[in-house]
Symmetry: C2
Subunit: 269 residues, 2 copies
């Protein structure tokens, strides 16, 4: 709750802005600190995942029993850290051309998707080599659901916003859905990572988990760090005042569109 | 993704409204269907939790080894179903007095809190009788965090919005934080339930989990239903057009306040 009581982020204080660059749209005062904190948390999550796999699971390799460990590492880097950062692009790049920002958002999601795919191949390949069953656990059901939703969201987002690009009216109607499902898929990714972490702990530690084994404590801490990263990213995405301001050209288009649609449906407020 | 492609809920279509009661503020056309769907999902989640505990865990009782089963049942009813419904109060009761709606929101959260407390006592008491360790798992760490946050949120919300009530300016500043942390605590509650479900499955089924045991399949389905309930509740909370319209008196107050604060800080956009 600390964040909620911090005077810089309470309610309308979200709107306090300072202009760091002459002539550019002003940056909300608290935003850079929250973004910096999110990156510190995100990098800590990746580092602690690496430390957990290195210290207690023998490290990471493709051609051995360590292939399994490629899975959590790739999923945390791709579907947690990079996916989270892709969502933050529109809060961080506020004055660059809209198209550049869009391409960066799409590219970060492509990197995340490819890294996640490597992580998926690693676990299926490992299961095959060991003769283990696939897709029986809640973690795997959630994981497949998240991966399919992520892929569909990318394809639909690309078709609407990049190439070939839908009409302005269609984009405006789809945008809130894209944002909602983007945030939802990110939250589901973090939740699925927690389920996987728990599964890995219980399979290896069993009843020793209750003896506060160092691995258990480190992995629980990693779980809480994952939750914190998720919450901070969503916190940055929430205030309307922290959204990327629309540029002069977009505002003109948006006003035209608003006039047109309000003429169409006067009761839409 | 089905919801995102439904024409009634795409982007600005959120704003399509019909007036069901003459003289009352109109109700967004798709909202009642989404609320009905959320209730169907919520009740299904409670029923499937009951079915799981009844069919595979011997049912629920306080004075026996079945005391443990009180824990998941209470947590799902309190911190998932009732908490979710408490968040929806402001979307469902749109024309009742603001104070009545507030009291209902607060009361639903009190019921949720009390039921969750019974669920907590059940598991700690069960652990004590069996001589099991407490608070070693990621599920328990997340659970305690959620319960403390939920309690603090209730106390702070009560102090600001009900009794004695803060000034209009303080309430307006705190409201976005209350809403953000309310939704976050709800999501964390659903996530913690999934971790608990997974723990219960792995402790009992062990390696048999991978043989697609009926209990495993039922519990995985329960996990997905919990996720769906969480997503639908958040989906209903998201569109600005679906928020409870402020009543004439509140609008006048809000305008005065806006004029005052904008006079105070001209750069706050």
């Amino acid at each position: 709750m600390a964040a909620s009581l911090h005077p810089q982020c309470m309610g309308s204080a979200h709107g306090r802005v300072t202009s760091w660059e002459t002539g550019a749209a002003p940056i909300p005062a608290a935003l850079p600190y929250f973004v910096a904190f999110s990156q510190l948390l995100g990098l800590t999550v990746v580092a602690v995942t690496g430390a957990w796999l290195g210290l207690y699971r023998g490290g990471v390799a493709w051609e051995s029993a360590l292939q399994f460990n490629v899975h959590p590492l790739c999923m945390v880097i791709g579907l947690v850290f990079l996916q989270g950062d892709a969502l933050l692009v529109y809060r961080v790049f506020r004055n660059e051309a809209k198209r550049t920002t869009k391409v960066l958002h799409g590219l970060l999601h492509v990197f995340a998707l490819v890294i996640a795919l490597v992580g998926l191949v690693a676990v299926f390949d490992y299961h095959k080599k060991k003769g283990y069953a696939d897709l029986y656990s809640l973690h795997s059901w959630c994981g497949i659901l998240v991966f399919v939703l992520y892929f569909v969201q990318w394809i639909v987002g690309f078709s609407f916003f990049l190439f070939p690009g839908a009409s302005f009216s269609l984009r405006s109607r789809y945008r809130p859905q894209h944002v909602f499902f983007g945030a939802t898929i990110f939250v589901l990714s973090v939740g699925t990572a927690l389920l996987g972490l728990k599964e890995a702990l219980l399979f290896k530690l069993g009843a020793d988990y209750s003896k506060f084994e160092p691995e258990g404590v480190l992995a629980n801490t990693l779980g809480l760090l994952l939750v914190c990263f998720g919450v901070v990213v969503l916190y940055i995405l929430t205030p309307p005042e922290w959204k990327r301001p629309s540029q002069a050209e977009e505002q003109a288009l948006s006003m035209d569109f608003k006039t047109l649609t309000e003429g169409d449906s006067p009761s839409s407020q």
